[in-house]
């Protein structure tokens, strides 16, 4: 018995002394290159993951700086950067004012990197043609009001295609997702029924369907399941040979997602940037005959006041590289680079990231 009491005492002392050794923030690990490892850690959106993974790989080859990015979803990106467990976050759903207020390290900057597109991808047995869809049909499919692929509403839009009598299985995101934000932002705008019953957000209450984790999971699920339909970023559909439907835009044209179509969607907003914009811009259902209606910016989330001088410098260097070299490679993976006018203004914004308070 006495041995137990003595042991317990030792224990408490050890536990207490370990307690005040913790300091907050990822800034506590400065010498990160000892023993290898990444110089910076980021987490967030799966939407831009293909292009980011290429960027980080190219950047490591060019400069030797290794940036570890984990695609856990935009919701995760927002959360982890707010908690300061990562050096930067990534999201395609802009942070709300509430979320910005909760960030533990002060003001967060939204740095737009590229533009991408949410495409409607599907796996319909026997159908190889690219389907045409209108906003209201898309909304009704995802609300469960259209249940079969050979429904007349889909058939009337695609008269040359034989659609099977197959149940539609909706696949949405199970995690907090910027891709969902973009898609629901679009549906919220174009469908009054969607607006009242579902709304928009990184997570919504889906009327029907099952959930996949990340863009990876949704594309995986659609590929595996006959009859499935889902929304993913263009790169995922292309890289996996999944079809992407043509969507009718505001001007009545059926447009396929592509770099020019996404660039067209951003054209209007890029020209009329307010002076001190925070870049939280939505470009869904954009005007323009060639615009793809479900396009969006995607952002890197960084603290304006960096706490770690070494890491902060590396982050700023990378962001500047992204604005010059990175933008050049974006189209290779079907992401649209930022409009030229924006690049200048974004670079100025990057320059406002300060290391003043850094150790």
């Amino acid at each position: 018995m006495r041995a137990i009491k003595l042991a317990a005492l030792i224990f408490f002392v050890a536990a207490c002394s370990k307690g005040d050794g913790n300091n907050s923030g990822a800034a506590s690990s400065t010498a990160s290159s000892v023993g290898g490892g990444a110089d910076l850690t980021g987490a967030g959106a799966t939407f831009p993951y293909p292009i980011y993974s290429k960027w980080f790989s190219d950047y490591a080859t060019a400069t030797g700086v290794k940036i570890n990015y984990q695609s856990i979803g935009s919701g995760g990106g927002v959360r982890q950067i707010s908690e300061e467990t990562v050096d930067f976050g990534a999201s395609d759903g802009p942070m709300s004012d509430d979320e910005l207020a909760k960030a533990k390290g002060g003001p967060i900057l939204h740095i737009p990197t590229v533009l991408g597109a949410d495409v409607i991808t599907y796996n319909v047995p026997g159908v190889t043609a690219v389907l045409k869809l209108t906003p209201s049909v898309i909304a009704d499919i995802f609300m469960g009001r259209i249940k079969k692929w050979n429904d007349t509403r889909i058939g009337s839009l695609n008269s040359g295609v034989t659609l099977p009598n197959q149940d539609i299985l909706v696949v949405h995101r199970s995690d907090g997702s910027g891709t969902t934000y973009i898609f629901t932002d679009y549906l919220d705008k174009v469908s009054p029924a969607w607006h009242t019953s579902v709304g928009k957000g990184k997570e919504v209450k889906w009327p029907v369907g099952l959930g996949g984790k990340g863009n990876e999971g949704v594309s995986g699920q659609v590929k595996q399941t006959p009859g499935a339909v889902g929304y993913v970023e263009l790169a995922y559909a292309k890289q996996n040979n999944l079809p992407a439907a043509l969507v009718r835009n505001k001007s009545g044209q059926y447009i396929a997602a592509s770099v020019p179509a996404v660039t067209a969607a951003a054209a209007g907003v890029a020209q009329s940037l307010p002076a001190n914009t925070d870049y939280r811009l939505s470009i869904v259902d954009a005007p323009g005959a060639q615009s793809y209606p479900i396009s969006s910016f995607t952002w890197l989330l960084v603290y304006q006041h960096q706490k770690d001088a070494v890491k902060g410098k590396k982050l700023i260097d990378f962001l500047n590289w992204a604005m010059t070299e990175g933008e050049k490679t974006a189209p290779t993976l079907d992401y649209a680079p930022l409009p030229a006018e924006m690049v200048t203004s974004v670079k100025a914004k990057i320059a406002t990231i300060d290391l003043a308070g850094a150790k």
Partner: protein, 281 residues
């Protein structure tokens, strides 16, 4: 009326059903193992063991960083789990019957049955929330799972050592602590080492506790304060995607894991059987 014949017929039927059950129960293992070998073997190459993952969508790459990551995580977990587990096992074996020992044994079994995701969110709350994702946090989570496993197997193995051995040592003047360590522990060492290996095999395949602690890393990393890759994490990420290339890698990773687990399990079986005879089944 239940004739003798009908009763024997029923008996025969039930016996036949148990044979069927035996076949059905061994079938999943053979099917799963067979599938993993078939799918994974073709993807196993030197590149798998030496290359890093390629950027999304590109062909090729390997799991070198994940393999090293798993080894590091096992290392950290063992550093935590082994000393504490063996120490606790020694205590339980020697203080058998005391209320405290009984409570500890009971709680160790309870800990063994806890969902690993609960351990994961515990480690996140304790470590990651304050200091970020790290291999260390992942190691702590896995170590917490090792402790009850090693404790119980150590205790079991120590109890098999005949008390006469301990008494003889004490009679010869060995100090009690010396008896426990040099005589009893050493005698049980083979069984304990086996138990340790089984625990290692168990935690090597755990994914849930690593989701919120080690997080994952595309680069080669051996740092404890950074996120780190691990084989099960990669398998998870790759398996739910649509990329055929990633599926290939996932099967190969599964094959590596299964092979390791199989070798350890067979070795464990062999060691305990040869030492203690067919009584231990």
């Amino acid at each position: 009326m239940r004739t003798a014949r009908s009763r024997h017929a029923v008996s025969g039927l039930m016996i036949g059903l148990t044979y069927l059950a035996a076949i059905l129960a061994t079938l999943p293992l053979i099917l799963i193992l067979g599938h993993i070998v078939a799918k994974g073997a073709s993807s196993l190459s030197l590149a798998f063991f030496t290359h890093m993952p390629k950027p999304v969508g590109e062909v090729g790459g390997g799991m070198a960083n994940a393999i090293v990551g798993t080894l590091i995580l096992i290392g950290v977990a063992s550093l935590i789990g082994l000393p504490i587990g063996i120490g606790a096992g020694l205590y339980l074996a020697e203080k058998r019957g005391t209320p405290f020992a009984n409570t500890v044994r009971f709680l160790a079994d309870v800990l063994n049955g806890l969902p690993s995701i609960v351990i994961g969110i515990f480690a996140w709350e304790l470590l990651v929330r304050r200091a970020g994702f790290s291999a260390f946090a992942g190691g702590v989570a896995l170590g917490s799972m090792m402790i009850p496993l090693v404790t119980r197997t150590t205790e079991e193995m120590l109890l098999v050592v005949p008390t006469s051995l301990r008494e003889a040592a004490l009679a010869l003047g060995y100090a009690r602590w010396r008896t426990s360590i040099s005589i009893v522990l050493r005698t049980a060492m083979a069984g304990i080492a086996t138990g340790v290996l089984v625990a290692v095999a168990r935690i090597a395949g755990e994914t849930a506790p690593l989701l919120f602690t080690a997080l994952g890393n595309q680069f080669w990393s051996t740092s404890l304060r950074q996120p780190i890759a691990a084989i099960p994490l990669q398998i998870f990420a790759y398996s739910l995607s649509a990329y055929d290339e990633w599926h290939r890698l996932a099967w190969a990773g599964a094959l590596v894991l299964i092979t390791m687990v199989l070798i350890i399990s067979i070795a464990a079986r062999f060691v305990t059987r040869s030492r203690f005879g067919a009584a231990v089944d």
